[in-house]
Amino acid sequence: MTAPPDTAGPADHHKQRHRRSVRVSAGAVIAILTAVLGFAIVTQVRANSRSDNLSNLREDDLIGILDNQDARADRLRQQIADLQATLRRLQDSGDRNAAAQQQAEQEAEALSVLLGTAPATGPGVVVTITDPQGKLGAEDLLDVVEELRGAGAEAIQFGSARVSTTTAFTDANGPVAVDGVDQSAPYHVIAIGDAKTLDTALNIPGGVASVVRSDGGQLTVSERASVTVSATRSIPAPKYATPSPH
C-alpha cells in the first residue's frame, strides 16, 4: 500500500494511472461489499429481534411447533369435555339435592305445625267456655281438647298455651293449669281443622257441650273461615331416645 511516486516517466505514468484506476475500482467494490455487509447485519439483527420469532424459523421447526400446538389443543379440548361432564353431573346432583331439600323443608314445616313449634293459620273454630260455678275440672277441659283432636283438629291453642302431644291439664292446686300455667274462666280455645266437623263433634248429644251445660256453664262454638294459632312451644330435646336406624 505504498503511495505511487510522483516522479515517474510518461510510460510509467500511463501504467500507474491504469493501476490506480484498478485500485480505485477495487476499493469501490470492497466498499460496496462491506456496505452491503453492514446493511445485512443490521437487517438480520432487526429481523431477529422482532417479537414474532416464528417468522425466522425453518419449516421443520414450524411443523414441530404446529404438531405440539395441535396436541396441546387436543388435550385442552379433552379437558374441556371432561370438565363439562363433571359440571353436568354436579348440576344434576345439585338439582336432586335442591329437590330433596325442598321436600325436607315442606315436611319440617308440616311437622312443626303438628308439633306446635310454629304458628299456624287456617279455617277452624273459636270455642268459648264459661264456668260461672267453677265446677269444670282439668278432665272436662281435656275432654274438650280430646274431642277437637278426635275431630281432626291439626293445631289447638288453649288460652295462651299451644296444645301438643306432651301438654298436661292439671287442677291439683285448685285452678286448672295447662302445662303449669293457671287458666281462668272463661276459657278460649282455638282449633284449626274442618270447622263444621269440629262444631259437630263438640255439640254431639251427650258430648262435652252438654257436660259443660250440666255444670252450669256455657260452651259456644263459632266457625271461622280463618283463625290463627299464634302460640308456640319449644320441642324438648329427647334425653334417652335416639332415632334408630331403619
Binding site: V29, A31, V36, A40, T43, R46, R58
Partner: protein, 110 residues
C-alpha cells in the same frame, strides 16, 4: 479505511431504511452474514500481514456468501437444513476465531 467507513455507512443505512427481510432470503441471510464476516476478518488479517489483495478479498467475500447460501439451500432440500446451518456457522466461527487471533497478535504483539 474505505471498508470501515463503508461498513459504518451500511449500518447507518440499515438503521435509517429499516428494511424487512424478504421471505425467500430469510434462511440465507444469517449464514451469508457470518460468511461475509469471515471474509472481512480474513481480509483484515491479510492486510496486517501485508499480503492483502483486493481481487482475492472480493472473490473470497462473494464466494463465501454464495457457498454458504448454497449449503443452506442444499441442506433445506435434503431435509438437514438446520444441522447444516449449524455446521456452517461452527466452521466459519472457528475460522473467524483463528483470524481474530492472528489480528490480535499483530495489534497487541501478543
Amino acid at each position: 479505511m474505505i471498508a470501515a467507513f463503508a461498513l459504518i455507512a451500511g449500518v447507518v443505512a440499515g438503521l435509517i431504511f429499516r428494511p424487512t427481510v424478504p421471505n425467500w432470503l430469510e434462511p440465507y441471510l444469517p449464514i451469508a452474514v457470518v460468511a461475509a464476516l469471515d471474509a472481512v476478518f480474513g481480509g483484515l488479517r491479510a492486510r496486517l500481514d501485508g499480503v492483502f489483495d483486493a481481487k482475492v478479498f472480493v472473490i473470497s467475500f462473494v464466494s463465501n456468501v454464495l457457498v454458504a447460501a448454497l449449503i443452506v439451500y442444499l441442506g433445506d432440500k435434503l431435509g438437514v437444513g438446520s444441522q447444516l446451518s449449524t455446521a456452517v456457522v461452527v466452521v466459519l466461527g472457528i475460522r473467524i476465531f483463528g483470524n481474530a487471533a492472528a489480528i490480535r497478535r499483530h495489534v497487541f504483539r501478543a
